[in-house]
């Protein structure tokens, strides 16, 4: 009667976690080997940054070779600043760098997860929807898009797994293409 937790998933909310879990499930990762950390309230961005670094520290101390996967939406400063902020925090605690190959994977939508969801759902249904990575689609999607509901998050993550990370389809949001590559590296790291 045991559950060996191999991946700590750090997310702001259920939608982010469902998307990431969809990808991992499609990759054959047993959902029971995940431990979810979701923001209980308050400022989500800072919580994800803090928790990601803390879990990286926990992994270094207790479970070498396993992984922490985070998803961090836009906080008004741009993806590069977000990434640097987390990288600085890791460096301050001598925890290395953000590196999916080393089991520390941080997904960074240029704006938020909804951009990726709209594009993936459209792709899956055979439509070639164009998305603007800098537009906020949380309340309304791009012209011609379908409504994105909670029930779409895991399927979108699963569909992402089916894409070729070395040659993503035309129009794939650049940060999603980057995230797909990171996720492949991350899977290799946690399966070692």
């Amino acid at each position: 009667m045991s559950r060996v937790c191999k991946i700590i998933l750090v997310c702001e909310g259920w939608r982010d976690s469902a998307f990431a879990r969809g990808f991992l499930e499609a990759a054959g990762v047993d959902s029971r080997s995940l431990d979810l950390k979701m923001n209980p309230g308050g400022s989500g961005h800072d919580w994800v940054k803090t928790q990601f670094v803390q879990e990286a520290a926990n992994l270094a101390r207790f479970a070498e070779g396993r992984g922490v996967l985070g998803l961090l939406d836009e906080d008004g400063q741009g993806a590069a600043v977000r990434e640097k902020d987390v990288a600085d925090r890791l460096r301050e605690r001598e925890l290395g760098t953000i590196s999916a190959r080393d089991g520390r994977c941080l997904l960074l939508p240029a704006r938020n997860l909804e951009t990726w969801l709209h594009w993936l759902i459209a792709q899956q249904s055979g439509s070639s929807l164009r998305v603007d990575e800098t537009t906020d689609y949380k309340n309304a999607g791009p012209p011609g898009s379908q409504r994105v509901g909670d029930e779409d998050c895991r399927p979108a993550g699963k569909y992402l797994h089916s894409l070729n990370h070395t040659q993503p389809p035309d129009g794939c949001p650049s940060m999603l293409a980057r995230g797909l590559g990171q996720l492949r590296d991350f899977l290799s790291a946690v399966r070692r």
Binding site: R3, A18, D30, R32, D35, P40, G42, R154
Partner: protein
Amino acid sequence: MFTRCYADNYRCLANFTLPLEPLSVLLGPNGSGKSTVLILIANLRDFILGRGKSLDLFPPQTLTRWDKRIEQTFELGLRLEQGEYLYRLRIRHEAPERALNKVVEETLNLNGQPLFKADDEKIQLFNDTHHPGPELLADWHVSGISRINVRGDNLKLMAFRRAIESTFVLALNPALVSAISKEKQPVTIPMRDCSDFADWLKYISTAEVLARQEAEQSLAQGGLPGFRAFQADPSGDAEILQCIFQPKLKFRLDELSSGQIALIILETALAVVGEGHGVLMLDEPGNFLGLSEVQPLLTRLQDAALEGRFQVVLTAHHPLAVDFLAAGFGSWLEREPSGTTRVHPIRVAENVEGEKAGLRVSDLIARGWLSGLGLTNKEPPAESDSDLSTKLPNAESPS
């Protein structure tokens, strides 16, 4: 799915309204009324389905002790594809000392239009276009809805009854679970403590084959390593439910540990409710489970509810459940000195920021620092009981 439950003059529930969402988590101190809500819904279900009489399901002991009124009122709101249903039941205890009561009102409306109406004299049936149909004599102690047969023109009422049939309310007590199946009648809905699990599984094995297979598969891949399948061995007039483990080990259900029995029941319930897109209400599902099993269970319940596969209502004291689900899904139940239960949505953000930052919700509850309005006990909410039910819908926005 259920959208609300109302009760007046039932145990600690007086003029009490609980809004229900696809996922609702009821939190609160011991004796605050969380389990009472689930027991009430189970009893209303059993009454509507004809599984019990008003005399048994709503005895005089269920009247609020300090309330002198002799009538109890209950309402259930349900949202189905046909629209918004409202079921209302009023029971009068005319001779509580002799445990006598009678149904004085039972109605079912769909989008405000009648589908069924009964008082203590007659039952008025309505067809699907809400036109009056035949009249029947009322039975004082039995739901009129349970007595109606399926016709071509009452499909909306039957949809309501099917939804009620798909409501499972469980408060597991593995020590009471028997491996012996001896019921001759099919057990379509288990008892709250699931002591009749073996009988329920027997029914599932014939009527819900896919659900049984799914439960077996989930157990084998999840919390019961080595588990392969259930097996019913004949024993006289009864059957003994055995659990087969690899390589060739066989254990009676009641030989397993409490945690293993709880897992078996929960996996089976998840599979059955998932097949029927029903409602699963669990009283303290984290009880008996190992710590590492709790979060996977909560994640699956949350996924099922938010992805629209079935509705989930939980009561929880377990810190993992509280911290995982209180934000966004939690309702705080508490009893006032006068004794009635009040409910508030939990606004976690107000409690984890500011002066109480850094504390988990379970810490706040353990220290008695959390109330539903994000206030300490020094600043109790000002509304009276009668105000509360009308103010609840507006209580969504931060105070």
